[in-house]
């Protein structure tokens, strides 16, 4: 039996359009599959990346299709590390309050679930700046 052991880093660069979300999901899927995660966990990782990229398209690039989204995948001995970079509007994640899901429904807000899902789906989610770019680094422990 031949096992594929991907050689990292792997990197995908796409334009900031929701049209490209499906290619992004497929990229994450084929990588995560070869790392041996269960289908349920792969689904979670895909969702977290989709949410992160959707936010970049919506908020950092305001739905312009001309921005760049760069997705870099790495693995360490025990972690699958997904780094997503954009050159859109600067974003200070500390200004975004952790949503109180109960409050959330009382107010019947329509958005605001994306970052919550990212944190639920991944083991670590860290926003920062990287050489003038916005960076979100998400980690899932290896199976």
């Amino acid at each position: 039996m031949s096992l594929v052991e991907l050689k990292f880093p792997l990197e995908l660069s796409v334009k900031s359009s929701t049209d490209n979300l499906s290619v992004i999901r497929d990229f994450i899927k084929s990588t995560a599959l070869s790392l041996g995660y269960s289908n349920a966990v792969i689904g979670n990782i895909i969702l977290a990346v989709d949410e992160a990229c959707t936010n970049i398209i919506k908020h950092a690039y305001k739905y312009s299709h001309t921005g760049d989204i760069q997705i870099e995948l790495n693995r360490t001995t025990d972690k699958f590390v997904i780094t997503i970079l954009d050159s859109g509007i600067e974003f200070d994640s500390k200004l975004i309050p952790e949503p109180d899901i109960k409050e959330y429904y009382k107010q019947r807000r329509i958005g605001g679930l994306g970052m919550y899902l990212m944190k639920k789906m991944m083991d670590e989610v860290v926003y920062s700046k990287n050489k003038n770019k916005n960076q979100v680094k998400m980690v899932k422990y290896l199976p």
Binding site: L21, I101, G111, L117
Partner: protein
């Protein structure tokens, strides 16, 4: 490639929406349009059949949040049926089961409306 597909059927006085494929930020506007049309047509009793839905992100979830109140204010509702486990898990994680009714079968969901009159 059809990534997402939404289809409307009338079952008695209930509108059944079949969703199919991938419901994300790219395809959610199509579901939104469907709901907007229902509002215009004063169709407030809605069952969404998830049998063929493979994937949902928060953009899809947001559509239901956006319209459920209007439906309820007009003696209707949005009820869910035939959801697979992976999709249900996302709804569950976000506490939707407290706010929405989920049914195994479409028929069950449709009947709930008749019972209410």
């Amino acid at each position: 490639m059809a990534d997402f597909n939404v289809n409307l059927r009338g079952v008695g006085s209930v509108s059944v929406i079949d969703v199919k494929g991938y419901l994300d930020a790219h395809t959610a506007p199509e579901l939104e349009n469907m709901f907007s049309k229902l509002i215009v047509d004063k169709q407030f009793k809605v069952v969404v059949n998830f049998d063929q839905l493979n994937y949902i992100s928060s953009a899809g979830l947001g559509v239901f949040m956006a319209f459920v109140e209007q439906m309820r204010d007009n003696k209707g509702d949005i009820k869910f049926s035939n959801m697979n486990d992976s999709v249900y898990n996302i709804f569950d994680l976000l506490g939707f089961p407290v706010l929405y009714e989920f049914y195994k079968d479409e028929k069950e969901a449709v009947n709930k409306f008749s019972n209410l009159g």
